[in-house]
Amino acid sequence: MRICRGARPLRNVVGMTQTTPAAPQPRTARPPREEPAIRFRHAAKSFGAVRAVAGIDLDVRRGEAVALLGRNGAGKSTTISLLLGLEEPDAGSVRLFGETPERAVRAGRVGAVLQEGRAVPRITVCELIGFVARTHPAPMPVAEALELAGLTELAGRRIDRLSGGQAQRVRFAVALAGNPELIVLDEPTAALDVEARRAFWESMRGYARRGNTVLFSTHYLEEADAHADRIVVVDSGRIVADGTGEQLRRAAGGSLVSVDLAGRPTEGLGELPGVVCVEVRGDRARLRTEDPDATVVALAGLGAVRGIEVTAPSLDDAFLALTGSRPSRPADTIPAGSPR
């Protein structure tokens, strides 16, 4: 037997993000303005018959660190191409700091690590970073960019003779060199080993601490959870969820509270606080809940605590629930408590 409450639109999760902690103070050189760092409005992009991005709405405030999470082919790279002005949207609009991406890039306000970049042959780290800095109106000192990316020791080395991890740090330094306000990283750690990955995120945090905005794409959940204030889950070219890791866990159906019924009737269990779904197997009730604490307290009030057990869903569960079995369902119809 299974009784579930009506679908809870995921928009709630989107709404909750408005209350995430305030952004760090922007640098004094560039006074804060009203426009968000990133604003997508109904942006769509198709390649032939493939709808790579099927209508995205997204606001990223200045100072936020946002992860774009999705499987391969979910539309992450196309979203980033739109964001950087490398592709024009077929419909809708993309604005960075209230300007077109092209203008923002020309003004040196954006830095990027692209996915398909190989080492530029026959130049040294220092020459490359120096060059990129000179193309920007207000770059950071080359030594500082090298320091931040952990490249000081390698400044005189030729890029085509570096290891994979070192070359990736060079690409990060390229993105930093212009001292941009927004940095965009397309799967920045895909080719890195554990040690290099750790060093990379340390560098990125150093940059984010200065009050800059960071957006990165990844298909590693742990990475998104650990390094972003906010996770935007993309699937089939749409945003299917948007919130903190905690909010995503809840959106996917929340925790599971199971308890022995001990002959007790099941009526009313579905009305307990937080409960969105009740499932009875033999003499045991499994309550899917958005608020496990309140549910447990209420159960205790009924005296139903025998064999009580609370299981938190993993973020993996949440991710699969949000993307796995329903690849084409629009964001606002995914029920919070739907079965996996």
Binding site: R106, G108, V110, A112, E116, P121, I123, E127, F131, T135
Partner: protein, 241 residues
């Protein structure tokens, strides 16, 4: 901004061993071989005109090589990375063309130096300067051809096509063997090649005369064609690299 880009790309080109060996060393070697093996008594003029032709050949190779570099940069994602710097695609392509102009110089200078030192060619100072100048400026159409190929084709294809263009234009244009030795039909064809007219600019100056209007006209037509080709290729792909 463009200066910084040109400096970077020139460095990269000059550090390319194959460019130094084949782009600079090869024309010098071929020049010295062609003018010192099996030579008869009356070789003074041939040594001078071959010097200019081989310098033109070196310039041609370097100019086309610029396009091969563009295709490589497209392949490794460097052009795409440049699109997320404040440089515009137009500045990138202009920077590349300027890079081509700069890297043409060592090839030209090396062959002229070999002519003066090894083959003992004596010209007036203004003639040396004028020959170097026309070979330098006259290489621009070939840079545009190379860039057109580079934007349009993949790295591998561009390499092959540019080498093919280089060989074909050099041979038919009489840069290796004087067109005077060609059969009549090939000679008529040769007169319409940009390479023949390119070398002719320098050869007339080295002989103490001024370049003929026909040479300038033919080269100008080719320059326009190659420029149009480069612009079309660039328009087609500069925004999608």
């Amino acid at each position: 901004m463009i200066t910084a880009y040109v400096r970077l790309e020139v460095r990269r080109t000059l550090r390319d061993t194959s460019f130094v060996v084949f782009g600079i060393g090869m024309p010098v070697l071929m020049y010295l071989l062609f003018t010192n093996i099996g030579s008869g008594a009356d070789t003074g003029d041939w040594k001078t005109s071959s010097m200019v032709a081989m310098a033109a050949y070196g310039a041609l190779g370097a100019a086309l090589g610029t396009g091969t570099g563009v295709a490589e940069d497209k392949g490794i994602g460097w052009l795409r990375q440049l699109r997320v710097t404040p440089m515009t695609p137009r500045q990138v392509v202009i920077g590349r063309a300027l890079t081509g102009s700069v890297t043409v110089l060592p090839a030209v200078a090396a062959v002229l130096a070999a002519g003066a030192s090894v083959n003992g060619i004596r010209l007036e100072a203004w003639q040396w300067a004028a020959v170097a100048l026309v070979l330098w400026l006259g290489a621009l159409p070939f840079t545009l051809l190379g860039i057109g190929n580079g934007y349009r084709l993949t790295a591998q294809t561009t390499g092959l096509v540019n080498v093919g263009c280089g060989l074909g234009l050099s041979i038919v244009g009489g840069l290796w063997f004087p067109a005077e030795l060609f059969p009549h039909w090939l000679r008529s064809l040769s007169d319409f090649t940009p390479t023949r007219r390119f070398a002719e600019l320098g050869q007339s100056l080295a002989a103490g005369g001024a370049p003929g209007p026909a040479a300038v006209a033919v080269l100008a037509v080719w320059a326009l064609l190659f420029a149009a080709y480069a612009v079309l290729s660039y328009r087609r792909s500069a925004r999608t690299v």
